[in-house]
Amino acid sequence: MDEAIDLRQEFEGAGIGEVLEKLDRELIGLAPVKSRIREIASLLLIERVRSRLALTGQPPSLHMSFTGNPGTGKTTVALRMADILHRLGFVRRGHLVAVTRDDLVGQYIGHTAPKTKEVIKRAMGGVLFIDEAYYLYRPENERDYGQEAIEILLQIMENQRDDLVVILAGYGDRMETFFTSNPGFRSRIAHHVDFPDYGEAELLQIADLMLEQQNYRFNPAARDAFARYIAKRRAQPHFSNARSIRNALDRARLRQANRLVADLDRKVTASDIMTIDAPDILSSRVFAEEKSA
């Protein structure tokens, strides 16, 4: 009766270890998110063993909400989540359909339901990722069609749990208001994951990783300058974590290219072309404002 179950074999057989490792390697920081995903993955693994032993009643509810500031990696993690769910056999295909309000809500009466259903059909067997989900609900306009989309979603989330996993994402405070005004959503979502902001050291690591992926690198002076840049940029309004870093690096690449092209007679080496130097960073607007002030 008591058949021994090799959990390690289960774990390796599903290949989740690989996905989690990749998550660790490619996503800097986000410790609470990673531990949460580990927990969910363990739960799903056990759930799978249980279902094989005919111990389970209902399939677990897998709908999630990801809250956090802009650029904290919600979409990236959602993609990985789809992969994990697929490997464990909780979704059949493991693709991710990312949508926003525009894709769900129609423009006139009777347009919303078919539109939402089309999107849901497309996402079936995978994960439906609704970015900035709070836009679905517009309390200031009581005739807003968003409500219709919400009702269809709620129905599908309840009745077709084994066909579709819904992940809602958005900024923390606004999602909170959204859930308070739509209690049906909160109760149908099992996992609330909060994405913290990145620290300065983490942002610098992210920058290193991004440059490495694009075959660039900082020289030591540039790295120092970029650390100072991050400290200043974080204090400014509209800072969106990793996304701001990516934009800053894109601009640095532009300046580097400009600097190299400015002196056409100079012979450049591969290493020159790969290296971002301090002036490329220091001529940023962020530093300029400091001087003028």
């Binding site: 059949r92 295909r93 693709h95 078919p114 089309e118 849901i120 059909k121 497309r122 079936m124 067997g125 995978g126 077709q160 066909d163 579709l164």
Partner: protein, 139 residues
Amino acid sequence: MRITQGCFSFLPDLTDEQIRTQVQYCLDRGYGVNIEFTDDPHPRNTYWDLWGLPMFDLKDAAGVMSELAACRKAYGDRYIRISAFDSSHGWESVTLSFIVNRPAEEPGFALERRESDGRTIRYATRAYSADRPEGSRYG
């Protein structure tokens, strides 16, 4: 008379699980899947009504199956078929089509002989169900 059109028509009617497997095969091959219905079962009737839109961007058969359930709810007393359209260049036609729903009673066809020039006879088939006007042929 049980009409036989398209694939699998000499097999017993497919179960939902079998339909799902066929649809998944079509989606995996990148075919667009359509649900069509009609109440005129004549074999030369190519004008079936399309239920909803063609489904060419789905990954999983669950979406098609829920549409099929909705179509059966509305037109359960008619013929419903699933057809798969291959849009790849040089092919561009329906590659698979099979009946997934049929009326409870199928009255069958009459064979009409029409005398033509001299002693020539021309034959025509006419569905008994087509005697009644469109929309009230079954049930």
